[in-house]
Symmetry: C2
Subunit: 347 residues, 2 copies
DNA sequence: ATACACTATGTGAACGCTCACAATGCGGAA
DNA sequence: TTCCGCATTGTGAGCGTTCACATAGTGTAT
């Protein structure tokens, strides 16, 4: 029985790693019995099990998950496709998914995109699949990413995190519309005639959802719906677009689509000598850790990203188990009132 | 030759996935020739290669990396152990490693710790190893994490990112000492008698390195070395410890160990009516995207985390290739001067 | 011609595990 | 006693690759 490395052992090389046969031999059973113990089969006599477990401990045996994956077709590994993990939202969602996955005994492979379009998302999913993952979660809250998911072969489990609202694919998301509406409602309740909106990029579905919630709330209140101003999520864009907002005479309240832009805007307003919230109220979105310590502390809509990640994972696991219908789960956001909002100033 | 799923096919289930034998059959060669084509062996006639490639395309054949991993013992997957990926530094480093790894054809499995000590780090590494990764990078810039690495069996490739300076293990790090020294030197050059330091937790090696750089620079300049004040990296702690700093009469300049704490401190100073930089100069560390848009824009020490990630990966790959001696690489930081620093005020 | 070095391709085995089924031993019902 | 069923264990095969070696084919120095 010629092994790859035959008996005339070349170096003092110690046995790389114990395998199932080694354990079986030491315990005086067959490899199959070892396998049964490992898989917690009830068909093993208590005493035998003990003997096997002892052998496992003695040899410091670790099951080879690659071999197991080969035969079972399940790797107990999940893939996550992300974009721009420096952003607080994606980073937190990833973390949520990852920790939930580990709790369920899954490893997590990530693939972070540099550019985001249908092809890159699709390619990343395929690559993960080739690496043997059992399913993939996509944190790509742009329309392109969401389109991509429709093109994944339907027998491969995929979920989307925080992708927009109109989808035929399984999705976990924060209710952006409700969040934006709540913030808008709050500002109106403070006496503001209307609320401006510094939005995110048009291809981000969550940006669109926020616009929708904001506009709907204004309309419901009979308030004017101003044109949206588009930023790109960065503090820089908030700063630069502050310029534009400063020109608007009647501006008394602005809903900003994320905290980072709000931060840039706050800076610009400060430079222009505008007082927040005396002259102008500002609401952000996300509740980044910094939000409470800005000047002034930022009123914002908190998103529970780790909850989102958890739910996302649950959906994915169910799909892996074979559930077919696309589940959709929504996490409610929460308005956190701090010091950047106040009553409308007298005109 | 009984296959698992025999000819009396149960459902209209189409063939799950083409395998090498299918390609071989279609191309009229043996599976081994297909393997050779896949592995770019020169021992294949051009015409044969073409035929095989055509068959691969036609069947949409994808090599099964799990099977390959089983036989080669290489999975082309790397593991990354991280802590608190919501923090800007770790998140960015992870991103750097991940993207560099993908460029090299490696997949990346992550494991993010909830608590950080020797056992959790070790357990995470083992778990990744059990899942078949070829090597592991640890982003755990605390002493405990670094201790853990010394206990990993030496035949398994491991690198540390940004772990402190005294190590017998392969490490890529930013030169914290130099960064802190540069910032301190700059403040002294502005005429400040000495510089206070709001440091990070004592078990973080980068916190200690920064303290060391700061203290050394003060000593070199013959300046008094005040007691350090300890924060925990959060904006909250910067805010709360601001209280303590406010009591110090002679305080004119403070070096804060990261931007988030600096942000909290700035907030506290603002509340207390202290003007930055007129009354007090503040320098941060990291250059988070928000730093330029704080009030005032923060002078800080920029760390190139993605470069760090890249280097980290290179070291890891070299180890996987069999390099033995622990390489150590250092990335220089950069002092970014903005508006939170200025000349010392008259006492 | 005969051997000798290639080149190009094929065959058998192994990686470490799980699945399907066979084999063994035992107690109790017939 | 004889047979059946059940609990327990073992055997053979196969997952989809790659590695090591064997074989066939071609040209060329001897």
């Amino acid at each position: 029985m010629p092994r790859r490395m035959t008996s005339p052992a070349p170096k003092t090389e110690k046995r790389r790693h114990a395998v199932m046969t080694d354990v079986a031999r030491l315990a005086g059973v067959s490899y199959q019995t070892v396998s049964r113990v490992l898989n917690e089969s009830p068909l093993v006599r208590g005493e035998t099990r003990e003997r096997v477990l002892a052998a496992i401990r003695e040899l410091d045996y670790r099951p080879n998950s690659v071999a197991r994956a080969l035969v079972t077709g399940r790797s107990k590994t999940l893939g996550v496709v992300t974009f721009d993990t420096k952003l607080y939202g994606p980073a937190s969602t990833l973390l949520g998914i990852e920790q939930a996955a580990h709790d369920e005994g899954y490893a997590v492979s990530i693939s972070s995109l540099r550019s985001l379009n249908r092809d890159t998302v699709l390619a990343a999913i395929e690559q993960l699949r080739d690496h043997g993952v059992d399913g993939v979660a996509v944190i790509a809250p742009v329309r392109a990413g969401f389109d991509a998911l429709k093109h994944v072969r339907s027998d491969f489990p995929v979920v989307a995190a925080a992708v927009g609202s109109t989808a035929s694919i399984p999705v976990a998301s924060v209710d952006q519309t409700a969040g934006a509406a709540a913030a808008t409602r709050y500002l109106l309740s403070l006496g503001h005639k209307t609320v401006w909106h510094l939005a995110g990029p048009a291809d981000w579905t969550e940006a669109e959802d926020r616009i929708q919630g904001w506009a709907a709330e204004l309309e419901a209140a009979g308030a004017e719906v101003p044109d949206v101003v588009r930023g790109d999520w960065t503090p820089r864009s908030g700063y630069e677009l502050g310029e534009r907002l400063l020109e608007i005479r009647e501006l008394t309240a602005v809903l900003v689509a994320n905290d980072q832009m709000a931060l840039g805007l706050l800076r610009r307003l400060h430079e222009a000598g505008r007082q927040v919230p005396r002259d102008l109220s500002v609401v952000g979105f996300d509740d980044i850790p910094e939000a409470a310590y800005l000047t002034p502390p930022l009123t914002t809509v908190r998103q529970d990203f780790s909850e989102l990640g958890k739910l996302c994972l649950q959906i994915l696991l169910r799909r892996i188990e074979g559930e077919l219908e696309p589940t959709r789960v929504v996490v409610p956001p929460e308005l956190v009132i701090r010091a950047s909002t106040g009553p409308a100033r007298k005109r």
